[in-house]
């Protein structure tokens, strides 16, 4: 098997949306008083994070970071989602 791929891209606009997401994750960490390397967002947004994950894993970690479910046990996540639904209902 021999695969040749040619990709023509413009780097700058191609990175802008990613940086906008990274900035917002950074702000979430500030709001939550979380410091140090943000492993999920670093693995998802960056080529050379402290620790590499597959892009699927990195995506899930970043989603969990955003939703504050990273590191939570399944029953805690169920509880978290239940509270989210209740809050959404309360807010109409």
């Amino acid at each position: 098997m021999n695969l040749e791929l040619r990709l023509s891209v413009e780097d700058s606009p191609n990175s802008a949306g990613i940086v906008i997401d990274a900035i917002r994750c950074g702000k979430l960490a500030l709001d939550r008083s979380e410091g140090g390397v943000l492993n999920g967002p670093s693995a998802y947004f960056m080529k050379h994070p402290a620790r590499q994950y597959t892009d699927d894993e990195a995506y899930r970690m970043t989603e969990a970071f955003i939703n504050e479910t990273w590191g939570k046990k399944p029953d805690e996540m169920l509880d978290y989602r239940r509270r989210q639904r209740q809050q959404a209902v309360a807010e109409g």
Binding site: L7, V19, S42
Partner: protein, 284 residues
């Protein structure tokens, strides 16, 4: 909830696209959230980001409003949103250090950096600006190979207590010693080396991962990048490429079923050519 206040180190093409993007999204809604993971993250929309400080070393940018400086040469990226509103934030003179490679003096001003004559700030001055401007997150967009200058600004971020997003391949977040310092000060850091929405690295990683999942044995792979902008001109100095090469190599090696032998994976940068469209990168 106030805006997210950012500082920019290096008002080049990537910073230009970022600032244009922030303004572009002001007139859009969630249906137009192209290029983003989510329209809203933690209650923050893309347009809730505000530039409050900026540093550069080029005389065509220093002293100008950031909204003007993003369109100044040698920037050449596509202008997809030209009506960027002036924000009253002037670009300040930055620290040069190794952010400028001597070989770049030999090229046309259209492509290269033209150094400003302004006095360079020391760390105390940068920290003062970051604090007084209310900068919360500092973005590093220095040219590839700016090892010393990146460490200078990372130190400034630590000193000023602002978060750091390291978009280029000098290893700060992935260096355990630096990571520990950010952790000890409880300052967030995201890095290193931005991965584009859909560029050569993510495509290369995805194909490598696919090969692993489908049981295809990957024997050799390469990536050749060519282009004609200031980034590629800067990378003519091959010494500046060392960390870039490591970053790209590890991004692919880390998702391979088995690490490839040295030389079996080769990321490369072909010589800068003014003949290429300035803003476009071709990857093979």
């Amino acid at each position: 909830m106030h805006n997210i206040r950012i500082g920019i180190i290096g008002v080049g093409n990537c910073a230009s696209s970022l600032v244009q993007g922030i303004n572009y999204y002001r007139h859009k809604d969630s249906e137009d959230a192209i290029g983003l993971m989510h329209w809203e993250i933690g209650g923050y929309k893309p347009c809730d980001i505000e530039v409050v400080s900026a540093f550069d070393i080029d005389k065509r940018k220093v002293g100008k409003d950031t909204a003007e400086a993003i369109f100044a040469e040698p920037n050449c990226t596509t202008v997809f949103y030209k009506d960027v509103r002036k924000i009253g934030i002037r670009v300040r003179m930055g620290k040069i250090m190794d952010g400028f490679s001597e070989h770049m003096r030999d090229y046309d001003d259209k492509y290269t950096f033209v150094l400003a004559d302004e006095p360079e700030p020391d760390m105390g001055e940068v920290v003062r600006v970051l604090k007084e401007s209310g900068t919360e997150i500092l973005l590093n967009y220095l040219p590839v190979g700016s090892e010393e200058a990146t460490r200078f600004y990372a130190e400034c971020a630590l000193e000023a207590g602002v978060a750091f997003v390291n978009n280029m391949p000098v290893f700060i977040a992935s260096d355990p010693a630096w990571a520990k310092r950010f952790e000890e000060k409880n300052i967030p850091i995201i890095g290193d080396d931005i991965k584009a929405q859909l560029g050569a690295t993510i495509t290369h990683r995805t194909l490598t991962d696919l090969f692993k999942k489908r049981g295809v044995k990957l024997e050799r792979t390469y990536q050749l990048n060519t282009g004609g902008n200031t980034d590629f001109l800067n990378m003519l100095n091959r010494i500046r490429l060392l960390s870039k090469k490591e970053s790209k190599t590890e991004a692919v090696q880390s998702v391979a079923a088995k690490r490839l032998d040295d030389g079996a994976h080769e990321p490369g940068v072909a010589p800068f050519s003014g003949g290429f469209p300035q803003f476009r990168r071709y990857c093979h």
